[in-house]
């Protein structure tokens, strides 16, 4: 985070309040939209925002989006960051405002998403007195952010907010929280227009990571391993998206003719319709991706972390493979699986270095590529075709015929999330926006609002479930209020489908707490009440193509509920804690083994 000599900031030396400085740093950092909710201890900063926007043309203003709940603001900021690659910003009050932000902060930490949260705090002399709307934000956030500041020295407010942006976007990105006591917001001092806090160790580590390149020797070892391989496989994670390395990954894969599997977070890093794409691996990955993982003899992990949804049983994961692991975070190397070759650094630089070093490397992997394409043909995703009831998969397939891989798809968490990951085409990075690691229900709707605001040029679709949608349903009102033309597709199965699926498989069909039949909610009426001009519900196959077309083509925010078969399950499924050998492909996907493993009651202790 070294600062180059820049021309003096036009406001340098001007006296302003801490609150003004916060807003001015936002503007300097290129923030266009602030998501947030005003309240007692953050009033000065909201006032500064109002004054900043006064007498400015709309294009120069900092756009403010007020959610129904601060959690919504956090997910909007996160959706914005995920869709654009820029830092998402939200601004909330102390106490309950701040604690409502804990979930999106943890969610962003778990998915490595750069967001900055500024919270108001009670004045310094009141901290620790159990004051009205006081919460120990530093302590609470400490365990779950990349970094948290409590601004106790008022003269450092400007540098602290600027540093928060630098930390959020550098290295492995993540959320940063700045807790600002009200009296610090009211402090008046000269604006500097530049300057960061000194972070002795962090700055050096970032510099090393940024400058780290694959040495000749390291490249040689890598290509010795590749030269011995017959069945190499790229395993791409969210790190590719964060590093903006999709172009390099695609070039690498094409250059050496190596197929690619991606994690949920890595979807879009390669075009899912490409010959070398095997789509998603893992618990609900495609059968052919998981077969490729089982069969490969050299697995090249880039920006992925062998998490439990990918490697449920580490000991038998990619059992025949040597492992190469590239990651910006040294702590991920060897955390789960010890690699045979590793590089800590930027994924884009690493892939470029390897391509340069291997420019003359030649090895024929066409037999392997043919084999995985045979797997693709013989074990495709499939589902029930003989039911009267609408199947969720056919709804998404039909929608995909309209969007053709060019929409940004946001999701809640559960079955619909997995179906969306499985059945849509994704041509570009940042086109699937989903809560991968934390698995936060309620993510989809606010994230889609943030994504649409960040990418007004795109069709943004929130594929949601009835359980997930309920969690942040207040934000439907927000979408309409700000004229955000999201397309909200509700796949309603009147229950928490994924948990129901686990209860069917592992808990003797005892549907504890997961059925929603006793709930009376009329989602269409709710959408209408919130001002949706397009709000429909269908449950008939014949209506589907037309309804979806009109839904996507509608100019403003649109809501479409589709009543689906509540017994639909997500397949394939690698049970929790199990290996890929134990993958269940279900009744509609052909397995390559004759005998499917028995689903047995497994110890709930083991089910994560």
């Amino acid at each position: 985070m070294t600062t180059k000599k820049k021309p003096r900031h036009p406001l340098a030396g001007e006296m302003m309040s801490g609150a003004d400085m916060i807003i001015q740093v936002f503007a300097d950092e290129g923030v266009e939209t602030i998501f947030g909710y005003n309240g007692g201890q953050v009033l000065p900063t909201y006032d500064a925002l109002f004054r900043y926007n006064e007498n400015k043309k709309t294009q120069q203003q900092l756009h403010l989006v007020v959610p129904a709940n601060e959690q919504g603001a956090g997910f909007m900021a996160s959706g914005y960051a995920r869709a654009t690659g820029k830092v998402g910003v939200f601004l909330c009050t102390s106490g309950p405002g701040a604690t409502n932000c804990v979930t999106p902060i943890r969610d962003a930490m778990a998915d490595s998403i750069p967001i900055v949260l500024v919270t108001g705090q009670v004045p310094r002399h009141c901290i620790g007195t159990d004051a009205f709307q006081e919460a120990p934000v530093f302590n609470i956030m400490s365990a779950t952010t990349k970094h948290v500041f409590l601004v106790s020295d008022e003269t450092k407010i400007e540098a602290t907010v600027r540093t928060a942006f630098a930390i959020a976007r550098s290295g492995r990105p993540g959320p940063v929280v700045v807790d600002v006591p009200k009296d610090v917001q009211n402090f008046v001092g000269p604006y500097q227009g530049e300057g960061l806090l000194e972070l002795k160790g962090y700055d050096i580590r970032q510099k090393i990571a940024l400058e780290s390149r694959i040495s000749e020797h390291e490249a040689k070892t890598f290509f010795q391993m590749l030269a011995k391989s017959h069945r190499p496989l790229l395993y791409a994670g969210g790190g590719i998206i964060n590093a903006n390395a999709a172009k390099e990954l695609r070039a690498f894969s094409a250059h050496f003719n190596i197929p690619v599997v991606t994690t949920l977070m890595g979807i879009g890093s390669v075009d899912t319709t490409h010959e070398l794409s095997l789509r998603m691996l893992g618990m609900h990955g495609t059968a052919y991706a998981n077969y490729a993982v089982e069969d490969c003899d050299f697995l090249i992990a880039v920006g992925a972390r062998f998490d439990d949804r990918v490697a449920g049983k580490v000991a038998t994961f990619a059992p025949n493979a040597k492992i190469a692991h590239i990651d910006i975070d040294a702590a991920e190397i060897g955390k789960v699986r010890q690699p045979d070759w590793a590089f800590v650094g930027d994924a884009r630089a690493a892939l470029q270095d390897l391509m340069d070093a291997g420019a003359t490397f030649k090895r024929d992997f066409s037999k392997w590529v043919k084999l995985v394409n045979k797997y693709k043909k013989e074990h495709p995703l499939d589902y029930e075709h003989n039911s009267q009831l609408l199947q969720p998969q056919e709804v998404l397939e039909e929608l995909n015929k309209i969007t053709r891989g060019d929409a940004i798809v946001c999701t809640g968490v559960g079955q619909h999330q997995m179906w969306a990951a499985q059945y849509f085409d994704f041509h570009q990075p940042r086109s699937l926006i989903t809560s991968g690691s934390m698995g936060t229900m309620g993510f989809g709707l606010p994230a889609s609002i943030g994504a649409q605001i960040g990418r007004p040029d795109k069709t943004v679709i929130d594929v949601d479930g009835d359980g997930s949608l309920r969690m942040n349903i207040g934000e439907m009102d927000t979408a309409v209020a700000y004229g955000v033309p999201i397309k909200l597709l509700l796949l309603n199965n009147r229950g928490d489908g994924m948990v129901l699926q686990w209860q069917r498989l592992y808990f003797g069909k005892r549907f504890s707490g997961t059925e929603k039949d006793h709930r009376q909610k009329d989602f269409v009426k709710a959408a209408q009440a919130d001002g949706f001009q397009f709000a429909r519900c269908i449950d008939d196959r014949r209506q589907l193509p037309k309804a979806l077309k009109e839904f996507v083509d509608f100019e403003g925010p649109a809501f479409l509920e589709v009543r689906i078969d509540r017994d639909a399950s997500v397949y394939p499924m690698v049970g929790p804690g199990m290996g890929y050998q134990e993958m269940i492909t279900g009744p509609y996907i052909k397995s390559r083994v004759d005998i499917q493993p028995e689903v047995h009651d497994i110890d709930p202790e083991d089910t994560i």
């Binding site: 302590n139 365990a143 990349k146 948290v148 002795k200 160790g201 962090y202 975070d329 040294a330 702590a331």
Partner: protein
């Protein structure tokens, strides 16, 4: 295996909370954690004694290294180092036990720093082994109270 990890951190608000929070959040057990200012007032040193196999220690060091406030992490167990701990032990002394306490203290080059009709306070400094040995010798006499600082450590200079 016991490991002594030395961590240089920024000496400011909340750093101890961040470090101890990391240990609890990731389920690592700490034997002891000592923190104090270094020769540079803006930098603190934490000496953390932990137990775990190599992969656990590796993870702990890497995770510590990720904290924004961390300046440097060093596993002292890998180098030649000096470890010291200070312990205050309040021992019961009825009758002629007083002499016994003084004798044990002198063997361990410990000091008697407080005396009352019913107790004596012994101050002992040394490595974990020495301190443990001294405590074990005093235990049969009746330890009323015991306070340990936890271990601090410094690497030896190359000779």
């Amino acid at each position: 295996m016991k490991r002594t990890i030395s961590v240089l951190v920024e000496n400011h608000f909340g750093v101890l909370a961040r470090v101890s929070g990391l240990f609890s959040a990731r389920g690592y057990n700490i034997d002891s954690l000592c923190v104090g200012e270094t020769e540079i007032p803006s930098i603190s040193r934490m000496t953390v004694v932990v137990r775990g196999d190599d992969s656990v220690i590796q993870q702990i060091m890497k995770q510590l290294n990720k904290l924004v406030d961390t300046i440097k992490v060093e596993d002292l167990t890998e180098v030649d180092f000096i470890e010291r701990e200070l312990v205050l032990i309040k021992v019961s002394v009825n009758g002629d036990r007083r002499r016994e306490v003084i004798e044990i203290a002198s063997i361990f080059r410990a000091k008697v720093v407080d005396v009352s009709p019913s107790s004596m306070v012994v101050e002992v400094t040394g490595s974990e082994g020495k301190v443990e040995a001294c405590i074990n010798m005093l235990r049969p006499l009746g330890i009323q109270e015991l306070v340990r600082t936890g271990e601090i450590a410094i690497a030896r200079s190359a000779k």
